[in-house]
């Protein structure tokens, strides 16, 4: 039953996001880059392997800690729900005043499908660039988002608005309108992991990268900007996050993008490269 629902939702997400991805690849990436990528994918993969490995490890860690984190949280965490509520009060209810059925449908779609698409597409788009630095930076920024976000999750125990003001949020609350999604998000999250909003920070990260790479992908930038803004608003509209979580998510995104620039060099893992270069065997996979 539970597994069936989950499988159904997952399949649905995979199909929808798959269609969005194919369309966007056709629209934004274009034939030329794809042909080139088909030729160079091995070397690019080798060049970006460390960044991919780090992200994979971070995601694995993330999964374990988010669920097993309650013991750590109990020991070091601070209960902050009331602080947030005192600070911003019923600000998120602002969105209730503009709520319509169409908007609810739109933001629910954005929160689940739009978000997944927004995170995956840049991975493909930047992999298709001959300079792998943007791709490596993006993955590093993703990793940083998760690591830093996770640290805050352990430190801050807070429930989102839907848990504090259930009645006021009934109309738009995601899980009441579309209960099947709770299976999806329950897989990856606990209800006290709200500060900061990782939905917002990752979406904003993608938005900033879209701005940085607007010369390569001029049409992607406006699309990413609209999607990223929609994701941030959807978290509040659907009653999942406080405005404070969203602001913190934006700050986190800024920090992660900046840090990724510092950490990721022009050459893929430069020192490692030099070591390989010093070896006698000639290699042809240099960029």
């Amino acid at each position: 039953m539970y597994a069936e629902v989950l499988t159904r939702v997952l399949t649905q997400v995979a199909v929808v996001v798959g269609i969005l991805l194919l369309t966007s690849i056709a629209l934004f990436v274009g034939r030329g880059r794809l042909v080139e990528t088909a030729r160079e994918w091995r070397s690019r993969l080798r060049a970006t392997a460390p960044a991919v490995a780090v992200l994979a490890a971070v995601l694995g860690l993330n999964r374990v800690v988010r669920w097993r984190g309650d013991e750590i949280e109990g020991a070091i965490g601070f209960h902050m729900t009331e602080t947030f509520y005192d600070l911003e009060g019923e600000f998120v209810l602002l969105f209730q005043s503009i709520a319509t059925e169409e908007l609810t449908a739109y933001f629910s779609f954005i929160y689940v499908y739009g978000y997944a698409f927004l995170l995956i597409f840049p991975g493909i788009a930047y992999f298709a660039l001959s300079d792998t630095r943007t791709f490596r930076r993006l993955l590093t920024a993703y990793s940083l988002n998760y690591v830093l976000g996770l640290a805050f999750y352990l430190l801050v125990i807070a429930y989102g608005p839907r848990n504090v003001m259930p009645e006021e949020l009934t109309v738009t609350m995601l899980y009441d309108n579309s209960p099947e999604y709770q299976h999806l998000t329950r897989e990856v999250n606990r209800n006290t992991n709200v500060f900061p909003s990782l939905h917002t920070s990752l979406a904003a990260t993608v938005g900033v990268f879209a701005y940085i790479t607007r010369s390569s992908y001029p049409y992607w930038f406006p699309v990413a900007a609209v999607l990223a803004a929609s994701v941030a608003i959807s978290t509040m509209y659907l009653g999942i996050h406080w405005a404070i979580d969203v602001v913190a998510g934006l700050v986190l995104a800024g920090v992660c993008v900046r840090l990724s620039g510092v950490l990721v060099g022009r050459q893929p893992v430069a020192r490692f490269r030099r070591y390989l270069d010093r070896r006698p065997t000639p290699r042809d996979d240099r960029e």
């Binding site: 729900t81 429930y159 209960p179």
Partner: protein, 582 residues
């Protein structure tokens, strides 16, 4: 600390003594010094600042809303309030085990028989952990009444109970708010007999008649705790559910507040002595025989999980009141027992509803629990801390499998006595009982509608009830309710030790309005914590609270009147803030 205490205004004499000692040395200045010290040594009397502990909407949607309303009225009378939300088990741990709260709002398990108040309020339990007196309340007069009602029967007991409830209504150790209705949603095409017995008890499931070719009962349960811990003695993980009753037998079982034989074939009561005879050839799920020694052991464990008969017992956080009624148990052969009880017949029979645990498994759990690197509180034996997976009982269902936060699956125990030809008791009509965890009422209902579940086994939240659509194969099921929402005071902390203060707080709540606003009308406001049949006429709800009438009407608090009440109770206001010495 002691210095501070002697200097505090609560002990003026010692200060004067000090001053008198120095007076001879500095007669000329003593008047001035006295003046300064009198001013400086007064502790500041601060605004009362309290925390209300409750559950988030994921755990108890009505609870958090009640807590917010309570916070609002307290703020209106000048109290600084914050609401602290905890998950299900953390909430109960804070309230019941660690007593870390000023106020809390939540559901009390209550009882069909008012004897649960003995456990809930007797002062000897003020220092213990568990459902026994979490309020830390102590009132000798109430203790006497609680003991008297235990020994009494019939009309005499009713009279004592009425007096006890009057005292309770006057003292308000906690404020009973309302009795929520219990609604569930069931499939009628696969099973008959819904509502024959209460669905929060074992009989509610055993009375079901399965349709042809139906060999599996599927429940959608909104509380994940049953999949995480299956220990009948752990308070934090237990709620209003029947599943452990299906795994563990008790000597007797309850049906519509009457006590009927179960594992005990029959019993006789005579002036404090209860002679019990067990059914023959009963076994635990691991095929070990169940005999009178296991029964005696179970009650001994419920009195002291260290099994020491020592000076300072470590009682479990559940069943404390029942076990306390037992003075001694004599085992007479394999099947016969004699209980010496401090109780009349009514309460004596209730004692028989405690779970019977296998001695060969629980003996070694009498040791103090150990967690590496963590100091464990005294009295926390493994018996109350172990998750008890797999549970081994003797009940009509045995443990099959579980996945945390997903499901618990029970299998029929074919050797159970209810399946014998000569035993006329309801038996399991299906081979498997699967408890599917689904954390929201809306999706649990959907599982029933789409034929993926047969019942929403936990109580549905009230906000979904208006939208329940009847269909040919499904139906809503309403059952009698004895749990109640209440505002609990930690009377160990000032100013909640003061009954005048508690009464003034109780009068800030418009229970009628709360029922409409928070429960959508699916609850009954109440002035007492007991069921209707035990409520004396003077305390019956008559459109307003007969004990602590609301200051105001229709949810609108008359702030002036309320503040006056606090002043009349001896508290003072300064700049709109309620000042309290703590």
């Amino acid at each position: 600390m002691t210095d501070e205490k002697t200097a505090s205004p609560g002990r003026p004499r010692s200060r004067r003594a000090v001053l008198a000692g120095t007076a001879g040395l500095a007669v000329a200045t003593s008047g001035c010094v006295r003046q300064v010290r009198t001013v400086v040594n007064r502790d500041a009397v601060d605004q009362l600042s309290v925390t209300i502990v409750t559950l988030p909407a994921d755990g108890d949607r009505e609870g958090i809303r009640l807590a917010r309303e309570v916070a609002a009225v307290l703020e209106a009378v000048g109290v600084d309030v914050s609401v602290d939300m905890r998950s299900n088990e953390e909430f109960l741990r804070a309230i019941l085990i660690n007593h870390e709260f000023d106020l809390y709002v939540g559901r009390h398990p209550g009882g069909t028989d008012p004897d649960f108040l003995y456990e809930a309020l007797h002062s000897v339990y003020a220092e213990e952990s568990g459902w026994q007196n979490p309020f830390g309340y102590a009132n000798l007069q109430l203790d006497d009444l609680l003991e008297a009602q235990r020994l009494a029967d019939g009309e005499e007991r009713e009279a004592v109970m009425a007096e006890l409830l009057e005292e309770l209504a006057r003292e308000q150790p906690f404020v009973p708010i309302c009795v929520p209705e219990e609604h569930r949603f069931v499939r009628t095409d696969r099973f008959d007999g819904w509502g024959e017995a209460h669905p929060a008890t074992r009989l509610g499931y055993l009375e079901l008649e399965a349709g042809d070719d139906v060999d599996r009962l599927r429940t959608a349960h909104t509380d994940a705790r049953i999949s995480e811990n299956l220990n009948p003695l752990t308070a934090e993980y237990r709620d209003h559910e029947p599943f452990l009753e299906l795994v563990y037998d008790s000597l007797a079982t309850e049906r519509d507040s009457e006590i009927e034989p179960w594992l005990a074939e029959d019993w006789t009561y005579d002036d404090g002595t209860l002679r019990v005879r067990l059914r023959e050839d009963c076994r635990f799920h691991d095929d070990e025989p169940l005999d009178a020694d296991d029964v005696e052991f179970s009650y001994r464990l419920l009195q002291d999980t260290e099994l020491e008969d020592g000076e300072s017992p470590s009682p479990p956080p559940r069943y404390r009141g029942l076990a306390a009624a037992v003075d001694a148990i004599d085992v007479d052969g394999e099947l016969d027992l004699e209980f010496e009880l401090d109780a009349g017949e009514a309460v004596a029979e209730r004692v028989l509803t405690a779970p019977i645990l296998p001695e060969h498994i629980w003996t070694e759990r009498a040791a103090p629990a150990t967690v590496r690197g963590v100091s464990v509180a005294q009295g926390a034996t493994e018996a109350v801390t172990v998750d008890n997976v797999p549970p081994v009982g003797s009940g009509p269902f045995r443990f099959g499998s579980r996945t945390e936060r997903e499901h618990v699956t029970l299998e029929r125990f074919d050797d159970h006595f209810t399946r014998r030809e000569d035993v006329d008791l309801p038996e399991a009509s299906v081979e498997e009982l699967r408890i599917q965890i689904d954390p929201r009422s809306t999706s649990a209902i959907e599982l029933v509608s789409t034929d993926s579940a047969d019942i929403t086994s936990a109580i549905l939240e009230t906000y979904v009830l208006d939208d329940l659509e009847p269909a040919p194969e499904t139906a809503p099921l309403e059952s009698p309710s004895w749990t109640f929402y209440h505002l609990g005071f930690n009377t160990r902390r000032a100013p909640f030790a003061n009954a005048r203060f508690r009464r003034a707080v109780a009068r800030l709540l418009d229970k009628d309005w709360l029922v409409e606003d928070v429960f959508h009308g699916y609850a009954a406001p109440t002035a007492t914590p007991v069921t209707e049949e035990w409520t004396p006429e003077e305390l019956a709800w008559n459109g307003e609270d007969p004990a602590t009438p609301f200051f105001g009407s229709d949810g609108e608090l008359d702030v002036e009147a309320a503040r006056e009440a606090f002043e009349d109770a001896g508290f003072s206001y300064d700049d709109g803030a309620l000042r309290v010495r703590r």
